[in-house]
């Protein structure tokens, strides 16, 4: 698996898209920091962008990579390699190269700006950690889509739909149901609803950092325990790990039974 990972990773690190992606983050970091000159504001803006953009790029990129490397995958399948190692290797190659582009693209301008001397370093680390998790999750979801759809057009379509659903539609439905059910105690429901969507989950981690003052304004006991203690952080991270593990488990399950 490590060998496949290595080759996929180097293949991708040399691809044009990795550079585009890297350059985009580099530009974003530079523009936010040096034109704006406000570290806190830059980090807030970045957080808003990252929880939307990283999933989009992760799914689309993952889907495209899979379809484009189909023949190569077939070449690998004829080699004495386990199927799970081939797909996990490729998956990690994509996810890690995406994460690398993100971390380097944003990291370089922030380091130049003097991040290590500022106390925003924890916010920034959290940001990169969340970006990494989202890359892992959405690439895994992309591989799930492609393994179940041999048709490229369909696969790309589903990928975009998935993103649209998790990034926007889900929250719309979520908001509507909270408003409709406002007569009932909602704190458990609202936390559960958040846990079931990795984008919302990442958002919660960001809220814990940026908006704790506002979150503590709500009376619910479950909320208070969740946000007021370390519990929220721990549960959110565990859920993020689950969100990586579950699609990966399905990748392994499906790839063992698939015909190529």
């Amino acid at each position: 698996m490590l060998k496949i990972l290595k080759y996929s990773f180097f293949d991708l690190m040399r691809s044009r898209w990795s550079y585009v992606y890297f350059a985009f983050y580099l530009l974003l970091g530079v523009v936010l920091l040096f034109l704006n000159n406000d570290l806190s504001k830059a980090i807030i803006t970045l957080m808003n962008i990252i929880i939307i953009l990283v999933p989009l790029i992760g799914t689309v990129f993952g889907v495209m990579y899979y379809y484009n490397s189909k023949e190569f995958t077939e070449l690998l399948l004829a080699q004495p390699l386990k199927r799970s190692s081939i797909f996990l290797g490729q998956y990690l190659g994509v996810a890690l190269s995406l994460s690398m582009s993100l971390i380097l693209g944003l990291g370089i301008p922030f380091v130049i700006y003097g991040l290590f001397k500022s106390n925003a370093i924890w916010d920034f680390s959290l940001l990169l950690l969340i970006g990494g998790f989202l890359s892992l999750i959405f690439t895994a979801l992309a591989f799930n889509i492609t393994l179940s759809n041999d048709n490229k057009i369909k696969g790309v379509g589903y990928a975009i739909l998935l993103w649209l659903f998790l990034a926007i539609i889900y929250d719309g439905i979520f908001l509507m149901s909270l408003i409709l059910l406002e007569a009932y105690p909602l704190d458990k429901l609202s936390l559960a609803g958040t846990m079931l969507n990795p984008i919302d989950l990442s958002r919660i981690l960001i809220l814990l950092k940026l908006d704790i003052s506002a979150l503590l304004g709500y009376t619910g006991a479950v909320f208070k325990q969740f946000f007021g203690t370390g519990l929220g952080l721990i549960v959110s991270f565990l859920m993020l790990i689950t969100w990586v593990a579950a699609p990966l488990a399905r990748i392994i399950y499906v790839c063992k039974r698939k015909d190529f």
């Binding site: 060998k3 496949i4 080759y7 996929s8 180097f10 293949d11 991708l12 040399r14 691809s15 490397s69 189909k70 023949e71 190569f72 077939e74 070449l75 690998l76 399948l77 004829a78 080699q79 004495p80 390699l81 386990k82 199927r83 063992k256 039974r257 698939k258 015909d259 190529f260």
Partner: protein, 240 residues
């Protein structure tokens, strides 16, 4: 070498293989033929473990292939369409495949034979179709495995390379290897193969030497023999 028993595979409603029984003995060149959609590629992919059969067993060197991967170390496979990760260089791809299989490789001799040396430093995405196929052949033959499977090996080759491919195949045969070939070029099949396996409607319709095929169909040349099988079968279908 390969023993296939009662192999079934369908894709949706389409029954591609319906009870294939086949014994490939060790040594010699076997051509797998059949009309489009007769299940040639599916059969080969089943042997390689790329397609998972619905029913039946495949034994390679006496070992069932189901859920195993290491037996593929004993097989060299030449896929039909050769597409490689575009950002790798030719030499990197060769090194990578060697790295993945970890066996003795004859890459340098083959590279010389197919005159690929000038392309070694080039990216795979810049290669022409013919060069790719040559590289594909190099990647297949550079290992010394007892079983070789070639899926349409002649695609895109120039005459010189074709001759070299034939030499290569003969050379491997002399070493006592078993070689499976699918091809649409009948002259090529006739020239190289010892035995024919003819697939029709998901089953082995005929297995034997070219001469016995000719006598069975009462045709003088190989191409006509094949054509007559297809015609007969077509007529039968209409009768039913």
């Amino acid at each position: 070498m390969i023993r296939i028993q009662n192999l079934h595979k369908s894709f949706g409603k389409n029954h591609v293989l319906s009870g294939v029984d086949l014994d490939i003995t060790e040594g010699g060149i076997f051509a797998i033929l059949g009309p489009n959609g007769s299940g040639k590629t599916t059969l080969i992919k089943s042997i390689l473990g790329m397609v998972i059969p619905d029913k039946g067993t495949i034994l390679v060197e006496g070992v069932p292939t189901k859920n195993r991967s290491l037996y593929r170390n004993r097989i060299d496979y030449l896929p039909q369409i050769a597409n490689f990760p575009g950002n790798l260089k030719v030499c990197e791809l060769i090194r990578m495949i060697k790295d993945l299989r970890g066996k003795v490789a004859y890459d340098s001799i083959l590279i010389e034979k197919f005159q690929l040396a000038p392309y070694l430093g080039k990216k795979l995405s810049t290669l022409s179709g013919g060069t790719r196929q040559k590289l594909n052949i190099v990647l297949t033959f550079m290992f010394d495995s007892p079983l070789i499977i070639l899926d349409e090996p002649t695609t895109g080759l120039d005459p010189i390379s074709l001759i070299q491919l034939k030499q290569l195949i003969h050379g491997e045969k002399k070493k006592g290897k078993t070689i499976l070939i699918t091809s649409h070029i009948m002259s090529f099949v006739e020239e190289v193969s010892d035995e024919i396996v003819f697939l029709l409607e998901g089953q082995v319709y005929f297995k034997g030497s070219i001469s016995s095929l000719k006598s069975k169909t009462q045709q003088l040349d190989f191409e006509h023999a094949i054509a007559s099988i297809l015609k007969d079968n077509h007529a039968q279908n209409i009768k039913i």
